[in-house]
């Protein structure tokens, strides 16, 4: 059992296998008094996770642990998005896409384009939280196969859905276009009151944060197209 701090929330993890503690090592905190909630998963949950693919029980436990965290954390004003988040000049942009579209490929191109001005806050599974009217993204130990994650926070300027195309173009999405796309990138709580908190956070995000659709090739021009549009516009 150990405590981690994610997006400012202290969580107790009651683990069975050492893999999850190793994964979380940079996020471990010793402020035991302030733990918001405890997560643990059963052998049955690990069995079910393992039936999906040939992974170790420790790895499967860590996946289940994060899912439990994500379902409970909206109560503390924090929510999860399946996204690759890149920061450029101190401001972050979250890219979301159907799996296999290449959101990690796209954010890696930002690193190439901006060099030391850019970094990936989390490559796959970040947490988000509003602080004083601004949405921030937070690093987590869970981050996708490339292992890009930094234990930090960064103001999130825009959310962007990504599709592959022949040419590079970007446009704003309206609420009608956003909702289906956004619900594909979340994990919903089961408990009624957690669900209420979660939907309030999504509602606020849709109302306050600009959302875009980038149609792109794998190119430097794709980065320029995305950055030029998203970094300039500030109004929702």
């Amino acid at each position: 059992m150990f405590n981690i701090e994610l997006a400012g929330v202290v969580i107790t993890v009651n683990n069975r296998y050492p893999a999850v503690e190793k994964l979380c090592r940079e996020y471990i905190t010793h402020e035991t008094a302030s733990s918001a909630f405890t997560v643990e998963v059963s052998d049955e949950q690990i069995d079910r996770e393992q039936s999906v693919g040939d992974f170790s029980r420790g790895y499967c436990e860590s996946v289940c642990i994060y899912r439990e965290i994500v379902k409970k954390i909206p109560k503390y004003g924090v929510f999860f998005l399946h996204a690759s988040v890149v920061e450029a000049d101190g401001v972050s942009y979250a890219f979301m896409a159907k799996s296999g579209t290449g959101k990690s490929t796209h954010t890696s191109l930002w690193l190439k384009h901006f060099g030391e001005r850019a970094r990936i806050i989390n490559g796959d599974k970040p947490l988000l939280r509003f602080v004083d009217g601004q949405l921030y993204v937070y690093g987590t130990p869970w981050c996708g196969k490339e292992g890009y994650q930094i234990n930090t926070s960064s103001p999130l300027k825009a959310l962007c859905f990504l599709e592959r195309g022949e040419k590079n173009s970007i446009r704003r999405l309206n609420d009608n276009e956003i909702v289906n796309r956004l619900f594909h990138q979340v994990i919903m709580p089961e408990n009624a009151s957690d669900m209420e908190d979660f939907l309030k956070l999504l509602d606020r995000t849709v109302k306050e944060v600009p959302m875009w659709l980038l149609t792109c090739t794998i190119s430097d021009e794709a980065v320029v197209t995305a950055y030029e549009a998203m970094s300039k516009e500030t109004q929702k």
Binding site: D175, I178, V179, F183, M188, P189, E190, A192, L199, V206
Partner: protein, 87 residues
Amino acid sequence: MKIKEGFILRSVGSENVVVAVGEQSRKFNGMIRLNNTGKFLWELLKEDRTEEFLADELVANYDIDREQATADVKRFAERLKEAEVLA
């Protein structure tokens, strides 16, 4: 017919979404989107209602004729039944 326990309708931005909570969330994974007419009918279906009653309410509150209202209600009810939302 009426909406089963465990479904909630909320707005996300300008959109109406229905999600499942508690026990229902084990069976129903995902969400249903409703337009404003759908939202209107959903609110009525918190009580046990007949298709006829719903069609009457549509005619009374929206600018549509009885025939259209009956067809709209039928389609809406079918959709909810398919999603196993109605009791």
